[in-house]
Symmetry: C2
Subunit: 194 residues, 2 copies
Amino acid sequence: MANTSKFNRTDVLTKASTLFWGKGFAGTSIRDIQDTVNMRPGSLYATFGSKEGLFKEALTSYTNQMSGSLDHCIGQVENPIEGLKSFVSFIIIDSQQNNPSGICMLYKASGEFMGENQPLFDFSQSLIQQFEKRVIGIFTDAKQLNFLDKNFDEANAGQQFIIQFTGLRNYFNGRNDPKLAHKLIEKMFTQLQQ
Amino acid sequence: MANTSKFNRTDVLTKASTLFWGKGFAGTSIRDIQDTVNMRPGSLYATFGSKEGLFKEALTSYTNQMSGSLDHCIGQVENPIEGLKSFVSFIIIDSQQNNPSGICMLYKASGEFMGENQPLFDFSQSLIQQFEKRVIGIFTDAKQLNFLDKNFDEANAGQQFIIQFTGLRNYFNGRNDPKLAHKLIEKMFTQLQQ
DNA sequence: TTTGATTTTGAACGATCGCTCAAGTTATTA
DNA sequence: TAATAACTTGAGCGATCGTTCAAAATCAAA
């Protein structure tokens, strides 16, 4: 006893997150989204409540996509740190050109909302924290698999990783130099395991 | 034979750059600026031409302010690298709370304009490149003053510096932990000179 | 004090913003 | 097939956007 939705929620969120990622929250209009996901405002608002609600789901979708990509890289090899490295290479070298922005959407969002929109800032930050914990967990796994010393400080390595990864993404936003990128990624992982 | 301007251009640009830095280009309206700098749209447009023109000058003003702060830090000590370190500490630890954003305005701008506004993206990138060259110059100075080895690679150190500095600013956007920040800055400079 | 070049003012333009909702459409159940 | 609940549509709301420009105000030179 009803009509059924005609859109694919996952597909809509992927397209919306691509838009938001590239143009930012303030820079993306509901009409931009309408045109891209082929939904009328009524449907959009019935489904996501507001522009902010849609953004939250789009950011979560982005994070899940990243997380899935990281999981995939880790699953391919024995040493989790090798997986982490290939993830970084994939992001910095391979996908930079196709992405709507060279900057991680989480940091772009966090940067846009700080001091302007506390709830959305907090939401972005919580996803960032989540990612840092995931990375620390990877170092813990590597340690248990004897790829790292028993007294290796994985919390510190997690911090260093986030800082360097973020820095690298910013650095290669607009720059295209795979050879240099490869060199800097090698250096990054050497420092992490020093 | 004329009327004279009543506003202080430097003051207006400082206030405008604070606004733009915090809220972003798209998130800042001309009316926001009107209210903050106390100028009517006619005067603003006669002076700066457009919102984009004003932004360019505001971004330049921000860069000059940063540059001046760096020069000041370097001038205080013998070893330019010590000066560079105190500049980083000043930005990350001391001024983070008072700033409208924890993220460098240059990177925030570059991130916002990429793929959306090529001229403004290029403009931001050129200022970023300029800053990297300035940092490399500091390492060169330190080398000539015998604070660094004769075969120290200053171009590589400049890259590493930019990456870590950017990463740290992002990391401490929203986080407030001066002790951790100090620890990570020490680590950063150890790695740079290794 | 008058003149005239320059600056400031602020109402208002058309476009676009986020968002609403009554009307229309669609699929399921009775 | 008729009834009904769920979903989609799109015109249009009031607010705000970047920008313009004629009129008013201002100050230096004549």
